[in-house]
């Protein structure tokens, strides 16, 4: 019934209103089914690859396959292929900002020092070695306990807290 309204519009504005009517690309049904099949194949690949031990490459491959799948969904199911490019820019920008979020957070956490509880000095979280900058050893009445431990282990220039037990005092 509203089709009728549209048809009359086509006739009335066909020439002077090029951008009047909605012109959305109509995707072929078979093509959409083909994309779905590709997504299923990629899902099988994800599961199959996870059964094989590739070390740290496992996560990389899983994320790569997931991104290809997400790309297929966004490009064809969500019509970005035939959409105004600005919508794609918005979509990509979400991942750019997410990348900034993840990169700087992980960069901070992997490089910042933390206070070694046994010695009261700044050490790298990842290997327990002395970290430059950050806090210097502070021995105050409030930190008396830490100070005593620090004094006990004063002989160690580079306090080596274990990788797996960050709170363990240095024992050699």
């Amino acid at each position: 019934m509203s089709n009728h309204t549209n048809d009359s519009h086509d006739q009335a504005h066909g020439d002077d209103h090029e951008e009047w009517d909605v012109h959305a690309h109509i995707t072929d049904t078979k093509f959409l089914v083909a994309i779905f099949s590709a997504l299923i194949v990629l899902t099988v690949i994800t599961v199959a690859v996870s059964r094989v031990d590739l070390g740290s490459a496992n996560t990389f491959v899983a994320m790569l396959v997931a991104t290809v799948k997400a790309g297929l969904v966004a490009t064809f199911f969500m019509h970005l292929r035939h959409e105004k490019p600005f919508n794609t820019v918005i979509f990509i920008s979400a991942f750019v900002f997410l990348g900034i979020f993840i990169f700087f957070t992980l960069d901070d956490l992997s490089t910042r020092g933390r206070i070694d509880p046994a010695n009261g000095v700044s050490v790298y979280a990842r290997n327990g070695e002395l970290a430059p900058g950050g806090f210097t050893p502070i021995v105050t009445p409030e930190h008396g306990a830490a100070g005593e431990h620090g004094a006990a282990a004063a002989g160690h220039d580079a306090p080596a807290a274990g990788h797996d037990a960050p709170a363990a005092p240095a024992h050699h």
């Binding site: 209103h17 909605v22 899902t43 997410l98």
Partner: protein, 244 residues
């Protein structure tokens, strides 16, 4: 009322009739359609960033304790996760087909595909329910009862008196993995529920005959939302169920 009359007035002065669904602050149906899609893509952007916080938490804690993540993820049922992945991918296909049928003016086809999409959404939630109850029964819900069945004697009443040193060979710190698991899949599950609401509304309007070849904005936007739900799950599945 005043909107309707001013639209009529504008239509009269233009010398042609406007479709009743064209809001009077838009020049043309094409502009209205593009504006709706622009708004939806910006919303999708904010949704990705909202999930982004949880993905960052995942990266931090997995980076700190990769072995714990690997051990803990083995308590998830990857087969059910894979089935749910296929269910969601299929529902994404049917949502895309619903839009297509709407574009060619096939009202019955649109309804049929929307109903299929909704059935998949309910199927997804049923499988999620099976998974969640298994986690609760195995004492894997993080919090004061971690390590004890949620409905067990230890937990009903005063809560778990003693946290077991190890849960099924897991370190007690495995509660971090399950906290992230429940938050990520939970937020995603809320989106599935919202998607069911949105698609039901679109289905209702479609059956009422609101849409046509020239106006199917709500079908398109509703489908975009549903594809977003699919997109998030595409990443959740390998990250939670297939930890290397």
């Amino acid at each position: 009322m005043s909107t309707a009359s001013s639209t009529e007035h504008a239509a009269a002065s233009h010398g042609h009739e406007h479709p009743k669904w064209l809001a009077h602050h838009f020049d043309s149906p094409a502009q209205q359609f593009d504006t709706a899609k622009l708004g939806m893509w910006i919303f999708i952007c904010t949704e990705i960033l909202m999930f982004g916080g949880l993905f960052v938490a995942y990266a931090i804690f997995r980076g700190q304790e990769p072995q714990m993540f690997h051990q803990a993820h083995e308590h998830l049922n990857w087969r059910l996760g894979a089935v749910n992945t296929i269910v969601l991918l299929f529902s994404s296909l049917t949502a895309a087909l619903a839009v297509r049928q709407s574009q060619v003016g096939d009202r019955k086809g649109t309804s049929r595909y929307l109903v299929l999409t909704l059935l998949c959404a309910f199927g997804f939630l049923c499988i999620k329910y099976i998974e969640y109850t298994a986690k609760l029964d195995h004492g894997l819900l993080p919090g004061r009862c971690f390590g004890h069945p949620w409905f067990g004697d230890h937990c009903i009443g005063g809560g778990a008196a003693v946290l077991p040193a190890a849960v099924h060979g897991l370190s007690t710190r495995a509660h971090m993995f399950f906290a992230i698991y429940f938050m990520m899949t939970g937020l995603h599950g809320v989106h599935v529920l919202v998607g069911i609401g949105v698609l039901s509304w679109v289905l209702m309007r479609n059956m009422r005959g609101d849409f046509s070849k020239g106006y199917f904005t709500a079908v398109e936007i509703g489908a975009l939302y549903w594809h977003l739900v699919d997109l998030v799950w595409i990443y959740l599945f390998p990250l939670l169920y297939l930890v290397g």
